[in-house]
Symmetry: C2
Subunit: 345 residues, 2 copies
């Protein structure tokens, strides 16, 4: 059975997922794993293989029959989930004093958002209107987990390429919902609350204002509802934040106009990354407020999409300290990405 | 010029290191980088190449002539440092309100501890008495940075194998000293202080006691001064904590007996990892209290060495949430490593 465990020293939860368990000899040392899109398909995520994956939890299609093959975006349970909703009663347990109240069953949901039935297309190769449907799927699923009070946290993310953690080449994102708030989000909530207490303003509203009006050296692109910037203190080279101009702590409150504008901006940004670094592995993560009433409509927190190509290898310094060494100043990264011409979307 | 920058949202410092800067096209996509020890040498870290590296900052040798080739352990400045002591006056600056007081010059020191003059030997292949000298070099350098009040933090770490961040195969560790305390250590200090406030005891003293006396399922090995355990909530599969039995917040207070015992325990542990996973890439990081009087002899913090083989690929979930998915329960990892027989050291 999977478990969630808290490290009281580091103040963070981790997931122990036996279902994904391996014997020591099962860990591969192969490095020939970065072929992106090299698989020819079809695969289990393709059109016509719906029966392989069990029932969908959400889909966008023209017809009205669940699990039919006419979908454009389809959400299913991950076949090798890190957590599952079968895993027992949500009761904090532990072991002695030092590990007291540090264990929960591995309750949660791990879903896959299949972005297109077409095995050959990558996300930025889809029309912006189709990318908008992927973003709507994120919204629908977060709304679903908002409606179940057992869930406290939902992380939407995309791994592209094996080196970025993807095991399937067919274009997809994922979502993990948990009954605890993950460490990084707690840190961001603390940081944004601190800033708000000092200045009575949202930190990312101030970032958008500063980087579009006062000092545009980190600005990459801008449309009516969104900006992309190279963050002032980026952890990764060419890291990009895609920020909504309208203040909102919760992604799921995004409206139709904004979804369309975000889709265009995401397409443009991923096209630039693919062109600049020749289809690199990358991740993006949706940083949005935790679930539950107490975390809804916060004045201090502002959701954003954090996009990072995988260009460097992390080592012991980053692992031990959490201080990342970035070889590219964000002002230089932004200048390069701003001038990347990929044609209009 | 390198810079240190603070992300006020995430509350963490990062290093922008132009000296390691690259143009977008310089980022390699090659994956054929995990050959461990496959380089035949000699290299710049080898015996007889002392002149290539500039003056040593510390060495252990029989003779008394600096930079002479009779060293056994030698510490030099990193040729491609992330930070340097030339980088300007230590004055907090910033940009506007949102990035106010968020920038320091890239002041610091980045050193390489060459663990042996012999290109062919890995750290666990050295005699324990030689490993003890490597551990003494760590101690000497931390003591040096303790004596300079501009430094607030020192991270000792080892990257073994390219996938773990190493660019040289010749056995070495590194050290980065900074004028700010890195995020992960701040979190650990908060966590250990919280536990101390609640229980009036050190959390890692309690861990040692629990895992050696009450519930030994996570215990791997034990000698007179040290234990190795699989931590209760490990971020990585087969992560190992090497913990001193005597409470001490600062590694540099280690005594001669303890250094010898730690060397034997480190040798045994790395031998087990090499045998179990066939010479995998790995990192270890020395988690010790920050520098400065206010962080010396803390009752709540307890130094330790965190050892993690690189067996899995991290993805967007870990990047966005800080919640790690570990496919191996620590009790199973400990059982396997406990029973790993590598002969006596």
């Amino acid at each position: 059975m999977a478990e969630l465990r808290k490290d009281q020293l580091r103040q963070s939860w981790i997931t122990i997922s036996d279902k994904r368990g391996k014997r020591p000899t099962d860990f591969s040392r192969s490095d020939s794993q970065s072929r992106d899109g090299a698989s020819v398909g079809p695969c289990a995520f393709c059109h016509g293989f719906e029966h392989v994956n069990g029932h969908e939890t959400f889909a966008i299609r023209d017809g009205d029959q669940d699990d039919a093959p006419d979908w454009r975006v389809r959400v299913i349970k991950n076949k090798y989930p890190a957590v599952s909703m079968d895993d027992g009663e949500l009761k904090l347990e532990g072991e002695g004093t030092v590990y007291g109240a540090c264990r929960l069953p591995g309750f949660g949901s791990h879903e896959v958002i299949i972005e297109t039935p077409n095995h050959q297309l990558t996300l930025p190769e889809l029309p912006a209107s189709h990318i908008a449907e992927v973003l709507k799927a994120y919204q629908a699923r977060i709304n679903f987990f908002q409606s179940d009070s057992r869930f406290k946290f939902c992380q939407v993310f995309k791994n592209r390429g094996n080196r970025a953690g993807a095991s399937m080449t067919h274009s997809h994102s994922q979502l993990i919902a948990l009954p605890v708030i993950a460490h990084n989000r707690m840190c961001e909530l603390d940081g944004s609350q601190d800033y708000y207490n000092k200045h009575k303003r949202c930190i990312l509203c101030d970032v958008v204002k500063h980087d579009t009006q006062l000092q545009r050296s980190r600005l990459i692109d801008e449309n009516e509802h969104f900006v992309t910037i190279a963050p002032y203190a980026p952890m990764y080279p060419y890291e990009i934040w895609l920020l909504p101009k309208r203040h909102a702590s919760n992604y799921e409150t995004i409206n139709e106009d904004e979804i369309q504008a975000m889709a265009r901006m995401l397409k443009l940004t991923l096209q630039k990354i693919d062109q600049a670094f020749r289809y690199p592995p990358y991740n993006y993560t949706l940083q949005t407020s935790p679930l539950g009433e107490g975390n809804f409509n916060l004045a201090h927190y502002h959701w954003y999409l954090d996009i990072a190509p995988h260009l460097t290898t992390l080592g012991g310094f980053e692992m031990g300290s959490g201080c990342y060494i970035n070889p590219v100043a964000p002002e230089k990264a932004a200048e390069f990405l701003r001038n990347c011409n990929v044609g209009s979307s």
